[in-house]
């Protein structure tokens, strides 16, 4: 193996790690809300889409103002979802809530289509971060390094938040047994609102990172981040939706797998696993195999009656 090919492989693995980090962030956002609400938020990608449009439409603003607007839009939309849909459906079945998030997802896509059209809008957040840097012979883009560090930082910060703060502890308790938590005085609505906001903040962060980290995501369209959401939802289920850590690892694993296969497989070929043309097919074949072999999740321990979900 030549040095050049080794370098390319390491670069591919780094890019795959960055993609896994983005998917891991999305899995945290989805997993947090699932933990306290038992709600699989299919509309999570549309939060990212809204944030990306906010960035695209303010390209002439200062970077800080543009990013601040992105966060404001996504957090506002997250709160709107909570108050207009999630809260009225609090006692509804998980199926009803899932279907409601499908409806919200397609509603937001339709609104974006009517308002902004089907032609994508270019979003360039921080151009300097897309430039390469040479580290020990590796040509890595700054955004790759930043993405990995940001995802690790978010995970550590969230872990500290959940373990060290009262509201974090209450969030963990509500995710295990919300009825008992309420009987102890835990304000369920406050805890859920905090979870929705943290999840929204992570979506805004992904909206900032995604257009820089994934070149084909530089164009914002109404279905922006939809494919990523579907893959992450699958990753969350494959990893184990019952725990935030396993869900996050599932999301990361899917991103890493997609990134690795697309990097290593040739762009032509007539069979799955021989060509990146069949990337999604190959990934979902693996997903089916994992679910058949470990239906409780790839990263979960043995089945338990009660588990800590966040």
């Amino acid at each position: 193996m030549t040095l050049a090919s080794t370098t390319t492989q390491v670069q591919t693995l780094l890019d795959a790690t960055a993609l896994g980090s983005i998917y891991g962030l999305m899995a945290i956002g989805i997993g947090l809300v699932f933990g306290v609400l038992r709600l699989v938020n299919f509309a999570y990608g549309q939060l990212i889409m809204a944030g990306a449009y906010a960035l695209a439409l303010t390209q002439d603003w200062s970077i800080i103002a543009s990013i601040a607007l992105c966060f404001a839009v996504v957090l506002g939309l997250s709160l709107a979802m909570e108050f207009a849909a999630f809260r009225p459906l609090r006692r509804a079945s998980p199926t009803t809530m899932l279907v409601a998030t499908f409806a919200i997802s397609y509603l937001l896509q339709s609104i974006a289509l009517v308002r902004f059209g089907a032609i994508g809008k270019i979003v360039v957040v921080i151009p300097g971060l897309t430039q390469p840097v040479t580290i020990g012979g590796l040509h890595v883009r700054w955004i790759t390094v930043v993405t990995i560090l940001v995802a690790a930082g978010v995970f550590v910060a969230l872990t500290l938040f959940l373990r060290r703060t009262s509201i974090g502890l209450q969030m963990r308790a509500a995710s295990i047994d919300s009825d008992t938590a309420r009987l102890l005085g835990v304000r369920a609505n406050a805890v859920i609102t905090v979870a929705v906001l943290v999840s929204g903040a992570i979506a805004a962060l992904v909206a900032v990172i995604l257009p820089m980290a994934v070149p084909e995501r530089i164009l914002v369209t109404p279905d922006y981040a939809l494919r990523e959401t579907i893959i992450v939802l699958v990753g969350v289920v494959v990893g184990g939706i019952d725990r935030l850590l396993s869900a996050t690892l599932g999301g990361f694993a899917m991103g890493f797998l997609v990134g690795t296969l697309s990097g290593f497989l040739p762009s032509s070929g007539s069979w799955p696993f021989t060509s990146s043309v069949y990337l999604d097919s190959a990934v979902f074949v693996l997903v089916i195999l994992v679910l058949l072999l470990r239906p409780e999740g790839l990263f979960t321990r043995s089945r338990r009656s009660a588990v800590e979900r966040v």
């Binding site: 009262s166 502890l169 963990r172 295990i176 009987l183 102890l184 304000r187 009660a306």
Partner: protein, 242 residues
Amino acid sequence: MSTPEPAPLLELRGLEVRHGSVPAVRNLDLDVRRGEIVGLIGPNGAGKSTTLHAIVGAVRPSAGDIALRGASIRGQPPERIVRSGVGLVPEGRRIFAELTVEENLRLGLAGRHTKEGAQEALESVADLFPVLRDARKRQAGLLSGGQQQQLAIGRALVADPELLLLDEPSLGLAPAIVDTVFETLRAIRDRGLTILLVEQRAQRTVAFADRTYVLANGELRMALLPRDANDTERMVAAYFGT
């Protein structure tokens, strides 16, 4: 001129609770005064636990009223009722097995109406249950049944409730541990708390409480005093309506 008797801490008036179309509690009147230990006994399905659930807002009454310090709390969410000074030790303890003992106790602080005195409340519970202090970093699910019951009681106490509701605290415990639980309840009463105790151990509860109500088929059948505990005929009549 005699001073008027203060309003009971807890009043149930004509309370009715239904599980679907099935009545679980029917026309229940019940008072609990400050500083009392009041027992609630009866056979399985009598409506004892349902009564407690209605008081803390976990189930919605279909009729009647529940008043705390003279003000209605009917229809309020559980978290507001708990923050008003009502603590619950639920049946089966319902501790958070994956969290540590310390985290379980800290969760109980959510029921306090003020953050002031939280540390003192934790210390006070640790004094009452030294085993919890020693095991504070352990996963709560690894404690013995008796220790878990102490944790469930301690978790309710750190909220500094005025009224403590206990739902079968001796359930599933060895006789020696049951003795400890009742001793603990006496110690808690000595601290000035008011207790409403739901129990299956009828004779022991009647002997222990200031007054004990007997429920059957969701209705109040009679009230017993400690002196009735050894009156076998009266106890049997209370349970079987003979």
